[in-house]
């Protein structure tokens, strides 16, 4: 962060007092006296919020105001969903040619297998939309918005196991300790919302087998960035935001009385000690109070029209489902939350893929369609970037016993498929090509760093310039190696 920015950031932070509706002393006025700084700080020139944008940002006009990231934790099979390989049934149960595998490393789950037999997808593929993109029958609903999606078939990573791989794509490094994507966005762009956190995370339940790969809070934590940029979990059970609800016997009036008294006492303290941080605390308590009403309002979907609810499918009214989370994602987006991420678990299908994958797809398929359509209907898709994908892909060869009807697939980091939509991403296109086995990339590789660079670019951020000095380095989400936005999918 350069020194000027640091200073401006501070100034901006103070603007926020004026929106708290509190008389917090002379300090609150300061921001008003620096219109030139305020202009330099935010391109919009709008009043600056409780999560202010970092001065100098956005680096250029953003296409996306917000990100909705649908993360399929475990590594969905690209071969059974989006990377159609019509030639495979003919070579069912033959060995994967060495010329394709090229001795690349395997996980220890299949490195001991004596054979690597080809397992074609048992699912039917059809072309959809004007663009004629191939979709598996498992995601027929998503296929209906084919012309809004940019399918990227050539995403790749180096990590081969879940924990490092998911940490890598979400934080830019395989080793724990770095800020997550959403934290970077919160840090850089702040939020347009005064009474909700800038970065919200949901972890809906899933339908296939009970044993699912873990998540880690580090996937939405702030790493070395200030903790306020950490994602806040929006929960389906208990308090929707941790500790949001007042204890029994404490109503709104009782809470207000307490906050008034505490605020008065704190102001006396400020008068005595002169530490401006005291006013910050007063303001934070006020924001907590506002959150106590804004969050219930957010989660109350009773006023959504039937037409809207129907878009997301029958589970939309059941809290804790993916469909419900997707609807909440739209509601969060409407309220100005910067980054919304849904982590859906159990996409790790080493065996019995045909038993589990359809169940997982049923959880998310219609909701993905619903979300895109809903955003589009409201004119929000243009300014919302929607990203779908997991941490790696799956192998064309079978893990365990192979039959036409049943098979499993091991982890495959060398190519997998993600899609993006909205925010000026070209719809109805496929980027990149994989070989006939969906094993290696033959055209336009996209590293997960490039994915992150693309996401930042849509948000108006030059990934090379969103930095935070830590351990002597200008740390970046995209790390030290080269990364480039995927220009091919950008309109």
């Amino acid at each position: 962060m350069n020194p000027l920015h640091e200073r401006l950031h501070l100034l901006n932070r103070r603007h926020f007092f004026k929106s708290t509706g509190l008389a917090v002393g002379r300090i609150a006025l300061a921001g008003l006296m620096f219109p030139e700084l305020a202009r330099a700080a935010g391109a919009s020139g709008k009043s600056v919020r409780s999560h202010p944008v970092l001065p100098g940002l956005p680096h250029f006009a953003p296409k996306a105001k917000r990100l909705i990231y649908l993360f399929m934790n475990g590594g969905p099979s690209q071969i059974d969903l989006l990377d159609y390989k019509p030639g495979l049934p003919k070579i069912y149960d033959t060995d994967l040619p060495d010329s394709i595998r090229m001795g690349q490393r395997l996980t220890t789950m299949t490195s001991g297998q004596t054979r690597f037999p080809i397992a074609p997808s048992k699912y039917e593929f059809k072309q959809y939309g004007k663009s004629g993109i191939w979709f598996s029958e498992l995601i027929q609903h998503t296929a209906k918005v084919a012309d809004d999606l940019a399918i990227i078939k050539t995403v790749h990573t180096e990590a081969i196991n879940h924990d490092p791989a998911v940490t890598y794509i979400q934080t830019g490094n395989q080793i724990p300790g770095r800020p997550s994507l959403g934290s970077w966005l919160s840090y850089g762009l702040g939020s347009e919302c005064d009474d909700l956190p800038a970065f919200v995370v949901m972890t809906p339940r899933w339908s296939a087998k009970r044993d699912a790969q873990a998540l880690y809070q580090r996937l939405w934590e702030a790493g070395f960035l200030p903790t306020k940029h950490a994602g806040v979990a929006l929960r389906a059970k208990g308090d929707p935001v941790l500790y949001l609800n007042d204890p029994p016997g404490v109503d709104k009036e009782a809470r207000r009385d307490m906050l008034n008294a505490v605020s008065q006492l704190n102001q006396l303290e400020y008068a005595r000690l002169g530490d401006p941080e005291i006013n910050t605390r007063i303001a934070q308590y006020e924001m907590a109070f506002r959150m106590q009403s804004s969050v219930p309002d957010l989660t109350d979907i009773s006023k959504e029209s039937k037409a809207t609810l129907d878009l997301y499918g029958p589970e939309v009214t059941m809290p804790g489902t993916f469909a419900h989370s997707a609807l909440l994602a739209r509601r969060l987006a409407e309220r100005g939350v910067r980054c919304i991420e849904i982590f859906h678990r159990e996409w790790d299908h080493h065996g019995d893929l045909p038993r589990d994958l359809p169940l997982q797809c049923r959880d998310v398929d219609q909701a993905c369609y619903g979300l895109i359509t809903d955003l589009k209907n409201r004119g929000m898709l243009d300014e919302t970037l929607v990203v779908w994908g997991g941490e790696f892909g799956r192998t064309v060869y079978c893990q365990g016993k192979l039959s036409r009807e049943n098979y499993g697939r091991d982890h495959h980091p060398r190519c997998f498929t993600m899609w993006m939509a909205g925010a000026g991403v070209k719809g109805g296109m496929v980027h990149g090509e994989t070989d006939d086995f969906s094993y290696n990339i033959v055209k336009d590789p996209v590293h997960i760093r490039d994915i992150n660079a693309t996401i930042l670019q849509r948000m108006g951020i030059d990934h090379r310039r969103l930095t935070f000095k830590f351990q002597g380095l200008d740390q970046k989400l995209t790390g030290v190696e080269e990364a480039n936005p995927v220009q091919g999918i950008l309109a």
Binding site: Q217, R235, G472
Partner: protein
């Protein structure tokens, strides 16, 4: 949400900006560090510019260096360039190519290149010009020069200074014409220092005693009392455990529990006994390598085992050996040396003189642990240490003796047997997979037939109703019914890839809702279901306990059902001795069931060693020892005589039927004994420790840090820029490294450590970047003071309490923290310390304070971590479903009210009430916590049941203190802030109390609801409505800014 470390007063900044304009803004940032010095100082002013802007291409990394020019070394910077120019001509900026290149208007020529996104400010250019004009004096990076003992500066205001620290602070303040603040009042002081040394506030009685103590050394005696308190160790340990990345789970993937807490208790004890810091260092990094290492020293070596580890399926051992060693190297380098060596994992360090090779030489010290790469998700992945006490050792050795005796007797008995292989029988040799029919016309021999749920008896129908043979099993029922048997004397033996089958006929006019086959292998947990998945309630869907295989077969015809053994979770070698034919409703017939297998079903193992060998070889997970497995694998004619004997002996002792009556009692006794010993052993606490391999693993430079791309082999060693490590002739190991770190000529350890201690008290280190003392780190605000502290630390014999005492008894520390105009203007961040420290308490202190002031705190030291209140779903939301920390089970009683230090730390989902206040996840070292203020924090202290319960107890305490409300309010206020409230504050609280009393009087149910929060019993002597009102007042006090801050 605002970050606290960014503290700039608005109004003053405004005035300042308006008068000075934007350029001063830049200078303003280093203002506080620069003071009124005239001359440019290379290390302070110039190196940071080079480092930040030039080192990437002109720095230590030889591979990326451009034009052969480097600015990290004097020789490099002053050398003649290829162009015959000189980058720097001392004394002459106009001849220096450097100045030309950074000032040129030509975009292509200008440095730093535009694509780096860096550019030099006018002020920076001016600094470089001035530095060259002044002669371009070069100094090595300050942090690599050993600290020299500094004499405290002589200052005029002698009356203010209390110890040498103050001289340094005062001298620096005077450069900016600042005056120190007066001493804080005694009440503020006792609260400040009590928190700083014990993590808890003082009691009103302690405050009174201190106020009444008018002797000149009253403060010093108080400090001594606090340093002697066992709470001191608990508090101080907390900072260290952040650095040591201590947690109660493995941290990766499953994130199961692991037992490290004895190490945590060791840290607490080490601080309490004021262990010398050099010893503290050596024992943690290499306690296991000390000659005749004590148990405590071995526990201390657990420091190296605190890193996160994995056992994820598919993970590659070598990759994780590398990760663990890198983590340990980075942790050591940051914690003791403030060096960011991690940059050199992939390439030479860009800023500091640490080459990639040097990194791997440090790494070589940490690459030789006897641990396995995969931790097995175990509580105690070896090497570990059982911490026996009292008679436990003797009891363990008794067990061992008894076990040895039994082993001996078994060997004796084996020798008495002679065994000869019987002649081959004519049993079919099973080479190909074939159908083996188990149930046909009757249940197999030995089967005990039973009925579950159905009413009628077992019904066998004959003739055409059967699928094959003579008879079939038929049942009509309205609900769940099972015809089943167990105890077949010839169980089915499962082989790899086998399938189980049965034939079924559903009556077309009366089909069931669902049918199920259930197999018995000691338990009944293998079920295959067809039809309605909910009809038969047994098992969990989509697991091996209830495999869902789709719709019912078509009624009116015989259908063959077949299911893979793997899907049922039946491992090769498993024995099925029972089968349940199950239906829900309808009329169902069953016939001909068995297995499609390549495994010989008639088990002759008991009489034939050959038969046993064959069967054993087919097992996927043989439990035989490696030696026996190897023997089995060898072709019989190639086995050594020892292998032959080992196999025979094993067979006779464990398998051979005629010998069972001899060996069974012995073996069952042995088994029981071992079980008993295990149970006893498990009851003894244990901890992970370090242990060095007899022969080092061998370390290599790894190309781009890739585990599978080793380059040159390296021996353990230290970077050349640091003092020489005197290698021993035989082998240099961690012990040498640890001793080297605390050698008196080491420039970093004492400075880095004292800087962290300083940071603890003042909120910011003398070097702000506590984790980076390299060239990208911040220049120290008081370099001489830092050196004085470092040398004093070493000369005192690394006496931690001595150093902390010096800090807290200094006049600097004892200043009032009132923010006065001049110091705020010149030094908003309080780097120069013209005022006392004031900042928000850490997470643990806030919670502990609530527990302590309410009287709930249980001051029990040490032991297994505890699980107090936590909102539901925190672990469940992220946990791997089979992890043993997937489900949070809150404890009860004392566990709820222990100090936060003892809270169970699950690293992938750490305690939310602590992380909300910036506690780290402990996945990685943390030498400096962020300090933020967020609304989520307000929600914790207002609504977390822990705080609501504490408020109730605090309220009750206030009520019981006095009959008069004013005195009660005063008491509560004092418990938290140590001072009496003034009359305005009293009034505000009284008004609040009156409101709540009225409210809860009218609404006793609400009152009851509020005071029922928490598991501690409600004081029923108190009126519920009144208690509720006082609870809310207490909660308000717990949420005061003054309560949450150290002042």
């Amino acid at each position: 949400m605002a970050t606290r470390r960014e503290r700039v007063p608005r109004r003053r900044a405004h005035r300042w900006l308006r008068s000075a304009g934007a350029v001063v803004l830049f200078a303003g940032l280093s203002w506080s560090l620069r003071g009124a010095d005239a001359k440019v100082d290379f290390n302070r002013d110039v190196r940071p510019i080079f480092s930040d802007n030039c080192y990437t291409c002109h720095g230590p990394d030889g591979a990326k260096r451009k034009a052969g020019l480097r600015f990290d070394l004097k020789e490099g910077a002053l050398a003649k360039l290829k162009s015959d120019n000189f980058a720097i001509v001392p004394g002459d900026p106009s001849k220096s190519a450097l100045i030309q290149r950074i000032t040129t208007k030509d975009e292509d020529d200008r440095m730093p290149p535009a694509k780096t996104g860096k550019h030099l400010t006018e002020a920076q250019v001016a600094t470089l010009k001035r530095w060259i004009a002044e002669g371009a004096e070069w100094k090595p990076h300050w942090a690599f020069i050993p600290p020299e003992h500094q004499s405290p500066p002589v200052v005029k205001e002698k009356r203010w200074a209390r110890n040498p620290i103050d001289g340094f602070i005062l001298a620096r303040l005077q450069k900016d014409r600042l005056k120190p603040s007066p001493e804080a009042d005694k009440v503020t002081l006792i609260r400040r220092v009590t928190f700083d040394l014990t993590g808890l506030p003082p009691t009103p009685a302690e405050v009174d005693a201190f106020l009444a103590d008018h002797k000149p050394d009253a403060y010093d005696r108080m400090v001594d009392r606090l340093l002697a308190s066992p709470r001191y160790g608990e508090h101080e340990a907390r900072y260290w455990l952040d650095a040591a990345r201590y947690g109660d789970t493995h941290g990766l993937h499953l994130d199961n529990e692991r037992s490290m807490w004895p190490y945590r208790d060791w840290v607490v004890a080490a601080f309490n006994r004021n262990e010398r810091f050099d010893q503290f260092t050596i024992e943690q990094l290499a306690g296991d390598l000390l000659p005749d290492a004590t148990r405590e020293q071995k526990i201390a070596s657990g420091f190296n085992r605190c890193n996160v580890s994995t056992s994820e399926g598919g993970a590659i051992d070598e990759e994780f050996y590398v990760r663990y060693a890198v983590d340990r190297t980075e942790t050591m380098a940051t914690v003791w040396m403030g060096l960011t060596v991690g940059c050199a994992v992939c390439h030479d360090h860009k800023y500091d003189p640490i080459s990639q090779k040097e990194f791997y030489r440090l790494y070589a010290f940490f690459n030789n642990f006897t641990e396995k790469a995969m931790d097995g998700n175990a509580l105690l992945p070896p090497p570990t240490l059982r911490l026996t006490a009292g008679e436990q050792d003797k009891k363990l050795s008794d067990f061992s003796a008894r076990i040895a005796e039994l082993d001996r007797r078994i060997i004796e008995e084996v020798a008495k047997f002679s065994y000869t292989e019987p002649a081959q029988t004519n049993a079919a040799v099973w080479t190909n997979r074939a159908e083996y029919v188990w149930v046909e016309d009757d249940f197999p021999p030995g089967a005990i037939a039973q009925i579950n749920g159905g009413t009628a008896e077992l019904q066998l129908v004959e003739g055409a109703a059967a699928f094959s043979g003579k008879r079939a099993l038929r049942r009509t029922d309205k609900g769940l019914a099972q015809d089943f048997f167990t105890g077949a004397s010839q169980p089915l033996i499962v082989g790899m890839g086998d399938a189980l089958f049965a034939h079924v006929f559903l009556a077309p006019d009366d089909p069931p809702k669902a049918i199920m086959l259930q197999f018995h292998t000691g338990d009944w947990l293998h079920r295959a279901n067809w039809g309605d998945p909910d009809a038969i309630a047994y098992g969990e869907k989509n697991t091996t306990t209830k495999l869902l295989l789709g719709d019912l077969p078509k009624p009116g015809q015989w259908t063959r059902l077949e299911v893979d053994v793997e899907k049922l979770g039946l491992k090769p070698g498993a024995k099925i001795d029972g089968l349940a034919f199950t239906q829900f409703g309808g009329t169902v017939s069953w016939d001909k069931a068995g297995i499609v297998t390549a495994t010989e079903q008639e088990d002759r193992s008991g009489v034939s060693q050959l038969a046993w060998e064959k069967r054993e070889k087919a097992k996927e997970n043989s439990t035989l020892s490696q030696e026996l497995k190897d023997a089995l694998k060898a072709a019989p004619e190639k086995r050594t005589p020892q292998q032959d004997k080992a196999l025979r002996d094993y067979f006779v002792a464990n398998i051979y039927a005629p010998a069972r009556s001899t060996f069974e009692p012995l073996q069952s006794e042995l088994k029981d004994l071992k079980k008993e010993r295990q149970k006893f052993e498990d009851s003894i606490p244990a901890t992970l420790v370090s242990e060095e391999m007899a022969k080092p693993r061998g370390s290599f430079v790894l190309k781009r840090g890739q585990y599978d791309q080793p380059a040159d082999r390296v021996e353990p060693g230290v970077p050349a820029v640091l003092p020489l490590l005197k290698a021993r002739s035989d082998a240099t190991n961690r012990l040498d490294l640890a001793r080297w770190l605390v050698s008196l000529d080491h420039p970093l350890t004492a400075r880095v450590t004292m800087n962290r201690f300083w940071q603890q008290f003042f909120g910011m280190g003398l070097v702000k970047t506590a984790a980076d003392f390299g060239s990208q780190g911040e220049w120290p605000s008081h370099p001489e003071l830092l050196d004085w502290l470092a040398t004093e630390f070493m000369q005192s014999g690394w006496d931690v309490k001595h150093m902390l005492r010096l800090i807290v008894t200094s006049a600097t520390y004892r200043q009032s923290s009132r923010v006065a105009e001049p110091s705020l203007r010149v030094d908003p961040q309080n780097c120069l310390l013209a005022r006392g420290p004031r900042f928000r308490l850490d997470a643990e202190m806030i919670r502990d304070q609530a527990l302590y002031t309410s009287g709930l705190l249980i001051e029990k030291m040490g032991g297994h971590a505890v699980k107090p209140y936590q909102p539901p779903g925190i672990w469940e939301a992220v946990g791997y479903t089979t992890s043993n920390t997937a489900k949070f089970e809150q404890e009860h009683g004392e566990a709820l009210w222990r100090r936060s230090l003892y809270t169970f730390w699950k690293r992938t989902a750490p305690p939310p009430y602590l992380t909300t206040f910036d506690a780290p996840s402990r996945e990685k070292f943390c030498v400096r916590r962020e300090r933020t203020d967020t609304p989520l924090q307000a929600l914790v202290t207002m609504n977390d049941p822990c705080y609501v319960e504490a408020a109730r107890h605090l309220g009750a305490r206030m009520m019981e203190h006095d009959a008069k409300e004013a005195r009660r309010l005063d008491y509560g206020f004092r418990l938290l802030t140590a001072r009496h409230p003034n009359s305005r504050e009293q009034r505000i609280l009284q008004t609040l109390l009156d409101k709540y009393e009225a409210k809860y009087r009218q609404n006793p149910d609400a009152a009851k609801g509020l005071i029922a929060v928490g598991e501690s019993p409600v004081n029923d002597k108190l009126n519920a409505s009144e208690l509720a009102a006082w609870t809310m007042v207490a909660s308000s006090l717990l949420n005061l800014d003054e309560t949450l801050n150290k002042n």
